[in-house]
């Protein structure tokens, strides 16, 4: 099943919506109205690039930094904000909060805040795809830190041996909470481990949504053709702290500056302007649409009631 090419203007708008969503959350958190949350600021490209390459029957598993993946999949920012605020209209009725949002109707099976949980369950979702002869593949987003949990090896190895249709997407953002990636592994890339396990892989510029989209299309074609898993490693950077609040005092200033210059949104926008494909009015129009969307979303979430006390013990057992 082929995907129409990714319109760079649309990609830009999606990335800007994700950024605006996170900035809304940061603001809400600052005003004590949202619990600690991990933002995807700086990592919008893998989300938009990869998710745009998926079809409706593909399934997604992701980690604690999942807002971009959800929004790129078309999730309602209002229901997402409501969930973060623990409101009844959140995707999980307020029981998840920001860190485990799943949305069955969008094919988002899991946001795991147990680092590695997404890797552990992805094989099962891939297994059900093949056992039930479903056409969909599974996209599993995880971080470079998750790649140091043994589940990474276990998941890729089982997917390789059982030929499971899984697109593994590692967002190598150089940080694992308060630890720099270089403190946790000798290699600069995890792709070598995938190769050693017999899983094909590609390392991609994780701050370029178009490059991510193309790489994802190629990988997904290979998965559909061979039935085998594939690993995409997106080289990107966590521009904000691990969670809110985090002053990033432990982050090397030059490294941060280097990556700020490569902000995926500014980069794509500059390129499109340079190529004369994005006018001042064009960008203004996008900005106002995004602003309107987030204002409506915030209003919706604010208006949503908290779940009633009975919700404390519902949904525990079938």
């Amino acid at each position: 099943m082929s995907i129409h090419p990714l319109d760079p203007i649309q990609a830009l708008e999606r990335m800007m919506l994700i950024r605006a969503y996170e900035e809304t959350l940061i603001d809400l958190h600052g005003r004590g109205r949202a619990a600690g949350t991990c933002t995807s600021v700086g990592q919008e490209a893998p989300a938009v690039g990869v998710v745009s390459a998926l079809t409706a029957d593909d399934l997604i598993l992701t980690n604690h930094r999942s807002a971009g993946h959800l929004l790129a999949r078309g999730a309602d920012p209002g229901r997402m904000l409501a969930e973060v605020m623990g409101k009844r209209d959140g995707y999980c009725g307020g029981k998840s909060g920001s860190l485990h949002i799943s949305a069955k109707d969008l094919g988002v099976v899991l946001t795991s805040t147990i680092v590695g949980g997404e890797l552990a369950l992805a094989t099962g979702v891939g297994l059900s795809r093949s056992m039930l002869n479903k056409s969909g593949i599974v996209a599993c987003f995880f971080g470079d830190g998750a790649a140091t949990e043994g589940r990474f090896q276990e998941s890729l190895n089982l997917a390789a041996v059982w030929k499971l249709p899984i697109l593994y997407v590692c967002e190598n953002n150089q940080w694992q909470a308060f630890v720099h990636r270089k403190e946790t592994m000798l290699a600069d890339s995890i792709a070598g481990q995938a190769e050693a396990l017999g899983v094909e892989s590609a390392v991609v510029d994780g701050n370029d949504p178009l490059a991510m989209f193309d790489a994802a299309c190629t990988a997904i074609d290979a998965i559909r053709r061979t039935g085998k898993p594939f690993l995409l490693e997106a080289m990107t950077y966590r521009l904000r702290g691990h969670f809110e609040p985090d002053d990033q005092a432990y982050v090397d200033r030059t490294e941060l500056a280097h990556w700020r210059d490569r902000d995926p949104i500014l980069r794509l926008r500059a390129r499109l302007e340079r190529e004369g494909r994005l006018s001042v009015d064009g960008i203004a129009a996008i900005e106002s649409r995004v602003r309107a969307t987030m204002e409506a979303a915030t209003a919706f979430a604010d208006a949503s009631p908290y779940p009633g006390p009975d919700a404390l013990t519902t949904d525990v057992y079938a």
């Binding site: 999980c92 029981k95 998840s96 949980g117 552990a120 979702v125 056992m131 998941s155 089982l158 079938a318």
Partner: protein, 322 residues
């Protein structure tokens, strides 16, 4: 009238697996050596539904959880209870919690099978009765039967249940035989069985120590002490009504299990009765359990680890004030 066949506990588990796989094409089983050891299932249902796995309990359980959330009903054999330690995250944090966390969007119909208990003499890394960990954890169900018929019926119920169910098999019972109804259907989870009706004292147990309680009851009967023996079968849901009904009648309770004492299932039952049957209690509630120690390999020590019938008799006599 239902005809009976005699089979062992291991055969009863196999029979339940075969019947449920026959009944429902989404049921499958995998684990380390499963396809090798269950050739019959492999030949009957094929290599897609009966699989060997790499040696990695975490991904085995995680794969089961992911498959269960998206349309399959996996059964995983994790071999021995201590090996579940490698799969705790997938069982507790994922399978047990994600229905709730997702606000009920996803279900986790899966079964985790494991052996435990004294009998093989290979020590504490194969033998550790950890069932109470899972009773304490939300979203899970736990069964630990004592007869072939219950193993078959409860295994079938576990596979059909829409929640994650852990089935613990007491290794000492594996080759013990018993009658199983030909047309046995699922036995509902959460229902205890009264193995012996009595009026003087209630003995509550599960797995191999149910037999120990029956032996103690015979000895007590000879001394005109009439013991009621309750086999819990399911540890979660726990059949509180059956326990309270019996204690209301007898006024005395002894809980017996091989798992160690602190925060074990016996503690829960004693606490339940101390709250809800307080008025009918006529003697201290006693627990006979394994010691707070790892399981030793040495044969005589391993035997000594398990509560014995004479200790049960002595406990009851002390309650009867004799």
């Amino acid at each position: 009238m239902t005809t009976m066949t005699t089979m062992t506990v291991n055969d009863a588990i196999s029979a339940a697996l075969a019947e449920e796989m026959q009944r429902d094409p989404t049921v499958m089983i995998f684990g380390e050596g499963v396809a090798t050891k269950r050739r019959d299932l492999l030949e009957r249902f094929g290599a897609a539904r009966v699989r060997n796995t790499p040696l990695a309990e975490g991904i085995i359980a995680g794969t089961a959880a992911g498959a269960a959330a998206t349309g399959l009903r996996p059964v995983v054999d994790l071999l021995f209870a201590p090996f579940l330690c490698y799969a705790m995250d997938e069982i507790v944090n994922s399978a047990g919690k994600l229905r709730y966390i997702s606000g009920g969007q996803f279900s986790f119909p899966m079964v985790v099978l494991a052996m435990t208990g004294a009998g093989w003499g290979v020590g504490a890394q194969h033998n550790h009765n950890v069932e109470s960990w899972f009773v304490h954890s939300p979203g899970l169900k736990i069964v630990m039967p004592s007869t072939p018929a219950d193993f078959k019926g409860l295994m079938k119920a576990a596979i059909r249940d829409d929640n994650p169910v852990l089935v613990f098999a007491d290794i000492a019972l594996g080759y013990s035989a018993g009658e199983v109804p030909e047309d046995a259907d699922a036995i509902p989870l959460g229902k205890a069985a009264v193995r012996r009706v009595g009026r003087d004292v209630t003995l509550v147990s599960y797995a191999k120590t149910v037999g120990t309680c029956m032996a103690a009851a015979d000895t007590l009967a000879a001394a005109d002490i009439d013991a009621e023996v309750i086999d819990l079968r399911s540890l979660k849901p726990l059949d509180e009504a059956a326990i309270l009904r019996s204690v209301a009648k007898t006024g005395r309770l002894v809980v017996v299990h091989e798992a160690s004492r602190l925060c074990g299932v016996g503690a829960e039952i004693a606490a339940l009765v101390a709250e809800k049957a307080f008025a009918s209690l006529r003697a201290p509630v006693l627990r006979l359990t394994g010691p707070d120690a790892p399981a030793p390999a040495s044969f005589p020590l391993e035997q000594a680890f398990v509560p014995q019938a004479d200790a049960i008799v002595a406990a009851v006599r002390s309650q009867m004030g004799g």
